[in-house]
């Protein structure tokens, strides 16, 4: 998968910065800078994981690629998709078609609409039913599952339904925002397998997550973000041992802090801090 991955850049984000303009009494305004210097790229057939602490700007990266930032956001930097600049106009034309977004929560499904119907939204009315059945088949859902409401589905089935509503044929770039937290291991593996398959069929996948272990199962490269900055872009294979192959100290700490690795050993020598009788 690697040789194909590096061949051609599908999406590149260079020097992205995002700030929010806020009113602080009267007509006085201030700008809060949340993303300072973010860089990422994805090739065809590649899974790129974006990891970092909550509040580090992971989701904002996704929203800026899709062009769905709130109105008071001020953005600068350069984004290119398929070799051309990704303008607001192109974003509007591409999202939901070539660029798919899988949102964080299954709460994005309509609780009062049968899931089959939800997957038909946006299709031509004559062919919608047939295409929905195809999609369900592709994501391992049964035909009669389409008659169910979201509350009748298990966590894993809900995720697959979300995939069916988001990922359409002709999709080239998939942005998945935290698709894994709070689901049991079996459903988790399903989601990961699904994303890997999409990449293997030629699409680029951006997997935004704080679950490094899961991300490493399918990712080719990992973009590590801290406080709105890219601290490192590492090959997935560099995450091993004590993290000797990782360039940034923050990435090494992130790796070592996993319960599978050193966990809290790095805080063991914290002296007075944490010692409370």
């Amino acid at each position: 998968m690697k040789d194909k991955a590096q061949s051609e850049t599908l999406l590149s984000v260079d020097n992205l910065s995002i700030g929010f303009s806020q009113y602080i009494g009267g007509l006085k305004r201030r700008t809060i800078q949340v993303i300072v210097d973010l860089n990422a790229s994805i090739g065809h057939g590649e899974v790129v994981a974006v990891v970092g602490a909550s509040g580090s700007g992971k989701s904002l990266l996704a929203h800026s690629i899709l062009g769905i930032l709130p109105g008071n956001a001020i953005m600068s930097g350069r984004m290119a998709y398929g070799g051309e600049e990704l303008t607001a106009k192109r974003q509007a034309a591409l999202r939901g078609k070539e660029i798919a977004f899988i949102p964080q929560s299954v709460n994005f499904l309509d609780p009062l609409l049968r899931v089959g119907k939800q997957a038909r939204i946006g299709f031509d009315r004559k062919t919608a039913a047939a295409r929905q059945r195809e999609l369900f088949l592709r994501f391992g859902l049964k035909e009669k599952d389409g008659d169910l409401f979201p509350f009748e589905l298990s966590g894993g089935m809900l995720r697959r339904t979300l995939f069916a509503t988001c990922v359409r044929e002709g999709v080239k770039l998939i942005i998945a925002d935290e698709p894994t937290p709070g689901i049991h291991p079996e459903a988790l593996n399903e989601v990961l397998t699904q994303l890997r398959q999409l990449a293997d069929s030629g699409a680029g996948v951006m997997l935004i997550t704080h679950d490094i272990m899961s991300a490493l199962k399918i990712a080719d490269r990992v973009v590590v973000i801290k406080d709105g900055r890219t601290v490192e872009v590492a090959e997935a294979s560099a995450f091993e041992g004590q993290g000797e192959k990782l360039a940034a100290e923050y990435t090494r700490n992130l790796w070592r802090a996993l319960p599978e690795n050193d966990f809290d050993l790095m805080f063991a020598g914290d002296g007075g801090n944490g010692h409370v009788a």
């Binding site: 990891v51 937290p181 992130l254 599978e260 790095m266 063991a268 944490g274």
Partner: protein, 207 residues
């Protein structure tokens, strides 16, 4: 001396038991893991042990006495989503001091910054909010704590840091802890023993 659930049974739909005839016991200072499929009743069992919901069958006792219905609860619960467990219209100072005034050492150990106290919950991140939930759960009268997916939404470094402090604090005060999680590696790190709820629901006893 222990937190004891005996013959616990619970259902949402009549006679469709999520679990039944379940026995569980946590001693002071013990760290017990609770694992199982999503939807198998982990959180429900936690809420029953903390006295937030009544089981349809069985009883919960704390150090020999039934759970108090009034006043401070000796079994405290910490939730997965701190933003859902904090009044959004309070400032963080109120949240922190609701049940008691934590010592400066405790506040410092959890790395709660003074500048956060004047803010509303929406102005803090999940990891920052969770520190307040932990601090307020550590009232001097607390005997047991149910930590329900306490660090699931946190990055690895914050997770390790919070558990490191939490473990120390609970051990120092001999507090019994139930850790609800489906992350096997985390439970292995932290717990004396782990209960797999789906096994228990088949057999009955978790003690």
């Amino acid at each position: 001396m222990s937190l004891k659930g005996e013959g616990l049974g619970f259902y949402y739909k009549k006679d469709k038991w999520i679990f039944n005839k379940l026995d569980i016991k946590i001693s002071p200072g013990e760290v017990k893991g609770l694992s199982g499929y999503s939807g198998c009743g982990k959180t429900t069992l936690g809420k029953i042990l903390a006295g937030f919901i009544e089981p349809q069958a069985g009883t919960v006792t704390v150090d020999g006495a039934p759970l108090p219905r009034k006043g401070f609860r000796p079994v405290q619960m910490i939730y997965q989503h701190p933003e859902k467990a904090i009044d959004p219209r309070w400032r963080m100072r109120q949240v922190l001091t609701e049940s008691f005034t934590p010592s400066r050492e405790l506040v410092e150990a959890l790395e709660i910054r003074g500048e956060w106290l004047g803010r509303h919950p929406i102005e803090l991140s999940g990891g920052e909010l969770q520190r307040f939930c932990i601090a307020r759960a550590l009232n001097p009268a607390t005997r047991y704590i149910i930590a329900d997916e306490m660090t699931t939404m946190l990055d690895a470094i914050t997770q390790a840091k919070i558990w490191h402090v939490f473990k120390k604090l609970c051990a120092a005060r001999n507090i019994g802890v139930v850790i609800v999680s489906h992350e096997a590696s985390l439970l292995k790190r932290l717990c004396d023993s782990v209960i797999y709820l789906e096994d228990v629901t088949a057999k009955g006893s978790a003690a």
